[in-house]
């Protein structure tokens, strides 16, 4: 409650434009930038922690082909957990244990929210990797570790990244409930706006939250592009060569191939 009292009052007749263009809105210890920093920090911590907790065991179990049923159960139970209720429940627990109202309850609730989709997408992605490639790798003397890291993970990476991105966006979109549990972050504008019956604050807050969620999605796509080698990236788009100049080379090569019959037969059928 002290946090709310410490904030600068925003008159109700302030327009969105005035609010956003006022430097006072952005700067200071309770400005947008500070709250944005709070939110980003918490979301990043939650996402990284959840990735560390969810992805390695999911990858390992899927590689082994273990725990499919268990995984489904864990995931389903995890999905049924109401994030707000969990966080609210944890606040008195955390207070009693001496850790304060912030940020552990919201951190734990968000981690619990995030682990199931991350775990599930990783597990599914790995188990759907072409078994022929995996078996071939094993038969050529790859260690199990090499099978996982050089075949399964690269081939599963697109699906895994998609899962991580969706989960991260979900974290950003859910993190504002923290403002209703005694914390700050971008959610405080929504909370304050509702509390003060100030639509400008409420809408301004939601715009900020939505913008951050969108940015998060884009950031993950950018990271994905940077991390994945070309051989993996090209698998994602359609299977034909990407540009016109490579396109021209396909025909002559397939036709000029010495065993003409299969270039004409199988190759011709498969080509497009």
């Amino acid at each position: 409650m002290t946090a709310i009292l410490a904030q600068r009052a925003v008159p109700r007749d302030t327009t969105l434009w005035e609010w956003f263009s006022d430097p006072m809105t952005w700067g200071g210890s309770d400005g947008i930038l500070a709250n944005l920093g709070d939110t980003v920090l918490l979301c990043a911590a939650v996402t990284l922690f959840a990735i560390l907790v969810a992805v390695p065991p999911a990858a390992f179990l899927a590689h082994k082909g273990w725990g499919e049923v268990t995984s489904a159960w864990v995931v389903n139970i995890g999905r049924a957990l109401p994030t707000f209720a969990v966080a609210a429940f944890l606040v008195p627990v955390s207070l009693r244990a001496g850790y304060g109202a912030e940020p552990w309850p919201i951190f734990i609730a968000l981690v619990l929210l995030t682990i199931p989709p991350m775990y599930l997408s990783t597990y599914v992605a790995i188990s759907q990797v072409d078994k022929a490639a995996v078996n071939a790798a094993r038969a050529m003397g790859f260690s199990e570790r090499a099978v996982l890291t050089t075949v399964e993970l690269p081939l599963a990476s697109t699906v895994i990244f998609t899962g991580l991105r969706v989960a991260a966006v979900q974290v950003v979109a859910t993190e504002p409930i923290r403002a209703f549990l005694g914390g700050d972050g971008l959610g405080r504008y929504v909370r304050d706006g509702i509390g003060q019956n100030n639509a400008t604050l409420t809408i301004g807050g939601t715009i900020l939250i939505a913008a951050l969620a969108g940015t998060t999605g884009l950031a993950f796509s950018a990271i994905e592009r940077l991390v994945k080698p070309y051989g993996v990236r090209r698998l994602r788009s359609d299977r034909s060569p990407r540009t016109g100049d490579t396109d021209e080379q396909v025909g002559p090569l397939e036709d000029g191939e010495p065993a003409g019959s299969d270039a004409a037969g199988v190759g011709g059928l498969r080509q497009r």
Binding site: V134, A136, M140, G141, G231, L235, A263, G265, G267
Partner: protein
Amino acid sequence: MSTLKAVIMTDDAQTPAIRLRGVSKRFPGAKEDAVAAMDLDVDRGAIVALIGPSGCGKTTTLRMINRLIEPSAGTIEIEGRDVTNQPAMQLRRGIGYVIQQVGLFPHRTIAANIATVPRTLGWEKARIDDRVRQLAEVVGIDTAMLSRYPDELSGGQQQRVGVARALAADPPVLLMDEPFGAVDPIVRGRLQEELLDLQREVRKTIVLVTHDLDEAVKVADRIALLNVGGVVEQYASPDELLRAPANGFVEEFVGEDRSMRRLALATVGDLPFEPGPVIEVAADPAAGLAVIDEHRTDWLGLVDDEVFLGWVPRDQVAGGGALADAQRYLPAAQVAPSSTLRSALEVIMTSRTSVAVINDDGRFRGTVTLERIRGGLAGDLDGPAERAA
């Protein structure tokens, strides 16, 4: 060093390249053995086909050789060395493995796919590049394709890359699990031919699992026919398997048309030369008539300096005019020395004269008749030296 190794291995001809002794496999929870006390010797440089109905343990047997499946009992030796004496990973790097689904790495270029095992073995880059180019040539992949990705290749090309990848580190033993099962029949035929060509060049010991008897007959030096439960019912050359099935199971498996299948084993060129009812075009008509009578036929073939001119019916020969002036028929009943007896039979069945002319690039090389093919079936059709490895 590899050459020296190769010399030593060839000299040591008594030891089979692969030796299975009392090999059994029972999967956890199964009541019956998938493979039961199997003994099998595979000679160095031979192609052995494992064939049988589903559930006969042919793939299980194959996978026990490179320990993708560990046997429950028995020993497996490669080049006289127990496979369990070394780490499985190391063992597998020394054994080529080709599977039906090919299993190329879709995120790696063709070159990188072929280079897989050499890279694992830590070869130098220049050596790997050389080897990749060399193998691309051997299996018939355009080197311009090396920088492409697997999904840009046709099924047949992918399987060639799969073979190249298996051969990359020059392993003495190659295991193939239904290698051509996923491609269409025309490409399959081509790949089988290429495998035989390749084998003449690289001389590997090859164990090949197939469910296609024709494929086994075509490519294998010996066929192991397995029954359900991994029992070897017969282990013999293709011709022996077809000519003398060891028991009812084998007989049923190879089918009632096994004689027809045997005909696919030998070529027209394997038959001893026989001119048939044929005479030089300059010869006397009376001599021609004598040839017709001798062969109890209605047609006389005319030849001019090794070139077959055509068939003349008996009544024209009997008419007494010069043979060169007689009305000739030149039917399409011609076969090449490389044609199988099976295709020769096909030609004969559809020919008016019941005789097929052997045409070796325009040169007359005798004739084939139904009787001669039947005579061939009575004998041993594994004949040609190149088959006996």
